[in-house]
């Protein structure tokens, strides 16, 4: 017979290092309220660390705080505070290395350079954490990322809040992972940053007032039920797609971004049932992109629906709703009878001479665009929706229309 004996150790104002070194695998350490100075504490065996009443693990700006190298470590209920900040080296409050099945749940990370840095790990959970990098120093050049994953697999990132870091959530070489229910706002660079990561999905997240959400050099992703709001500025994009292949983007809301989505060499992307509301440009599609489908979306209140940088763009627009459509539906089938030209003259002019944006919404713009409408010469005629919807499809949950 084998008895599995595990111990629970209570730690109140103790030296955490000694307590951890005296444990056996699968023990539980309960840490009571208090402030503990912790520097580069390595946890190399399966332990459960539980904080009661928010004990503070203070790094006093001397180094990293916890470094997990064992499997199945559970960390719950702590406040991680004040890692060192460095120029050459990266310091992270919680570093998870080569771990299978680690769980980081219900912690607070305050004023750290990096909050979490996971490397070479598999099957972990990051849930219900609150992460605040403090004031953004030097516009994010000094601070690191909130949740940073590098060479990981099958990680679940759920219901976290990330703000004040360089990138809120950062994926590099991460496969088959899920990001859901998180809120990422006011990060200096990107709310979510995805690089060389294949087969991931993210849904039910909110991204507000970051630089952008960047999906780069990746294949096979699903992005749905998210909100992308108020990404302003010269590099402000709701989603920024760069060198990506085969993605599905559906049922998201893009609200008040400078550019809703940018396609730069984005191939085989399906954009379906999204709402683009009050953006500068809803879409910017560069000629390097191909085989993309834009279908059943609502375009409402955007200054421009789409801008392209070439006469020939291999993107199919089909059955979307545009509030700028002024065609008619005589046969009453729900679709407009004349195609809707999507690229407006002024977006072409503005791409060549950005300063002309000062003439936006002026009578001159209307005159020029009406002339262009009757005698099309400049704008690419290929970018058009042959059968635009006459009524709103998704906005305000008008769901009955979706199936058409």
């Amino acid at each position: 017979m084998i008895f599995l004996l595990t111990f629970i150790r209570i730690c109140e104002n103790c030296n955490l290092e000694d307590v951890v070194s005296n444990t056996k695998p699968y023990d539980t350490v309960v840490v009571k309220k208090g402030v503990y100075f912790v520097k580069n504490l390595v946890i190399d065996k399966p332990l459960t660390l539980i904080g009661e009443n928010w004990p503070i693990l203070d790094g006093r700006k001397e180094g990293e705080i916890l470094i997990i190298t064992g499997d199945s470590v559970i960390v719950k209920g702590f406040v991680f505070k004040n890692t060192r900040f460095g120029f050459i080296k990266d310091f992270s409050a919680l570093r998870v290395k080569n771990c299978k099945g680690c769980v980081v749940e219900g912690n607070k990370f305050l004023n750290n350079m990096w909050a979490m840095y996971w490397e070479n790990s598999e099957g972990g959970v990051i849930r219900n954490n609150y992460i605040n990098g403090g004031e953004v120093k030097g516009l994010g050049t000094y601070s690191g990322n909130g949740i940073h994953l590098w060479h990981c697999k099958k990680i679940l990132i759920e219901n976290n809040t990330v703000t004040g870091h360089r990138d809120g959530i950062y994926f590099e070489f991460v496969d088959s992972s899920t990001i859901r229910g998180n809120i990422s706002f006011k990060n200096a660079r990107y709310g979510l940053h995805f690089m060389y990561s294949n087969g991931n999905e993210f849904y039910d997240n909110g991204f507000y007032e970051n630089g952008a959400v960047a999906v780069m050099y990746s294949k096979g992703f699903k992005i749905f039920h998210n909100k992308f709001e108020k990404h302003w500025g010269g590099t402000g994009y709701g989603i920024f797609l760069k060198d990506v292949y085969y993605g599905e983007i559906f049922e998201n809301t893009f609200y008040k971004n400078t550019v809703g989505m940018l396609f730069d060499n984005a191939n085989g992307i399906k954009v379906i049932n999204n709402v683009f509301l009050n953006n500068g440009y809803a879409l910017k599609i560069w000629a390097s992109s191909g085989n993309d489908t834009i279908m059943h979306n609502d375009f409402i209140g955007n200054s421009f629906v789409v801008s392209v940088n070439n006469r020939f763009v291999e993107v199919l627009f089909e059955k979307n709703y545009y509030d700028t459509y002024d065609g008619y539906d005589i046969d009453r089938d729900g679709f407009g009878d004349v195609p809707h030209r999507l690229v407006r003259l002024f977006s072409v002019i503005m791409d060549i001479v950005p300063a002309t944006s000062i003439l936006l919404k002026s009578p001159l713009q209307q005159v020029l665009e009406n002339i262009e409408k009757f005698f099309p010469t400049i704008i690419p005629s290929l970018v058009e929706d042959k059968r635009p919807f006459m009524e709103v499809i998704n906005y305000g949950n008008n769901k009955g229309r979706k199936s058409k």
């Binding site: 050459i88 516009l139 050049t141 360089r166 590099e172 060389y196 990746s218 294949k219 590099t235 060198d243």
Partner: protein
């Protein structure tokens, strides 16, 4: 005469010279990411005075080869020194590729002006020491999507 001086100063100001990288604001001209890691980056300065900025030396090299820029049009190639953060001559820098380095675009190459700094880094972390021609070769052979 005054006008002539003004004209002269205007033409002089167009002579090619490096521009400091505005971290957190400038976007890379190749991968479009906002440049934000002060240990990495680079610039291509054309003879016309036009400056292209990059967040990673890999982006710089890919941009150069994919856009077919003639070498005679280029005033200088610059990279950021890993240790000091200064812009240095890229063609004479010492490069180290190592899995200990995580650069923004995962080319994982650091540049050094002084061979002593490079050697110090090499002794500490390991890696391959390379020159400009070698990293050009290396990066052109890499595929960009896994």
């Amino acid at each position: 005469m005054k006008r002539l001086l003004l004209l002269l100063s205007l033409t002089l100001s167009c002579s090619p010279k490096p521009q400091p990288i505005n971290y957190g604001k400038d976007a890379c001209d190749y991968c479009r990411m906002i440049i934000s890691d002060k240990r990495f980056g680079g610039e291509i300065v054309l003879k016309t005075g036009k400056v292209y900025k990059f967040d990673d030396v890999g982006c710089l090299i890919n941009f150069f080869w994919e856009n077919n820029i003639a070498e005679k049009d280029i005033a200088m190639f610059l990279v950021v020194d890993y240790k000091t953060g200064d812009l240095i001559d890229a063609t004479r820098a010492f490069y180290i590729q190592s899995d200990k380095i995580h650069s923004p675009m995962a080319y994982d190459i650091a540049a050094f002006k002084n061979p002593e700094d490079a050697e110090e880094f090499l002794n500490k972390n390991g890696g391959n020491l390379m020159n400009w021609a070698q990293i050009n070769d290396l990066i052109r052979r890499q595929s960009k999507v896994r």
